[in-house]
Symmetry: C2
Amino acid sequence: MEVKTYGLICPITKACELLESRWTIPILAEIWSGSSRFNDIRRGVGNISSALLSKRLKEMQANGLIERVDDPATGGVEYVRTEMAVALEPTLNSMAVWAQRFIDADVAVSDTNIAALIWKLRRSVIATELPQRRVVMRFHFSDPNLDFDTCWLLAQPGSEVELCTSVPDFDVDLFVETTVKSISAILMARSTVSREVDEGRLFLSGDARIIKSIGKWLRESDYADIEGIATV
Amino acid sequence: MEVKTYGLICPITKACELLESRWTIPILAEIWSGSSRFNDIRRGVGNISSALLSKRLKEMQANGLIERVDDPATGGVEYVRTEMAVALEPTLNSMAVWAQRFIDADVAVSDTNIAALIWKLRRSVIATELPQRRVVMRFHFSDPNLDFDTCWLLAQPGSEVELCTSVPDFDVDLFVETTVKSISAILMARSTVSREVDEGRLFLSGDARIIKSIGKWLRESDYADIEGIATV
DNA sequence: CAGTATCCGATGCGATACTG
DNA sequence: CAGTATCGCATCGGATACTG
């Protein structure tokens, strides 16, 4: 992108010139969350086209925010943060705290992209807190007009949690029946599992031990303990 | 603007949805710097059309960032920060520090809008540090193709510094001959007056006392003492 | 897996002119 | 002073298809 400058004598504004083009900060945040491969980043930010992602990554490289490195081990390409991007983390974290305090809960949990939601959900499962065997969880979202409404998470000791959008060949240990908004609210710390269950927006069935320990294996939002946070 | 959401489970990204549309943060920064009137804000951010400024101010109001109040004293309209916007200040200040450390000096001081520059210059003059009489300063910029190349600052005890772009009816006490880039670098703390003078990019003539005390009456950038700041 | 290549529609935004 | 009204172009970016 031909950077459209503001031409102001103001460092904040200069930072904006690097950061405010659409998707730049979500991409940074996704890389911080652990993604480094092109398609992981793409899935994490949900809606971006590969053409645009490619373009943005190049710009961010040119601006010194990320580095593109070939990974000889896997033969793939990795995108990693530069020192400059690492140094920005505290700033964006304080922005996150601000958002949690001041942005209305209904605004914050609306319009969620389901593809990004389940990708985030996958990362929110702490496999080591589950029974140390294969655990299969099925999530069904009752919202109308979704691109898809069911996904499965497979946790196995010693490997990453796997996300499937087609029926896996295993028995399901936990059934979750809910809505996109409820899961969004939980993952954004704007509600809790027990609250959604109590209000009849989330139903759990299956392995009782897994249900009982959901508070342990479902990761809390990093921003769960901010004071003054608004709930749905 | 129909807010284009990202649909992600991420507070940072939610903040971006409110903040990243063009001009929003520069407007906020300008209000922090002391402007509250429509046309002051407009001049402060330099290039925005009144139509777009009007639109942005409405959106920012709707998002809870600013309040529009009628000032019965003057009959005018004032735009003031809400608590939400005040709470964002530390975040944006840390972004400014980041920009000063990591954005290359040449990038930071290029493309300066001259209208915004002289408006900022006006605010950088500390009138109480000047001789307590009328002081007239003439700035001439030798850059080619400027919309205008000369401006005058009038300081008088007890009133705000005035900015003129046409010849005032007073004798000039201080002549400044320089470039947009040099003044930009000084106001952005990417250089100093003495350095620009030494390098032959800034010439001062006129009242010797005023020249000698320029370090006192020309305000330092708020971000002057950041470590690792790059100079031009 | 990690991108390119094209297409095209929406709209952001700058420019200009006008108003109470 | 504090905006509206209108216009029109550039371009942003989403969709889709294709590639080594």
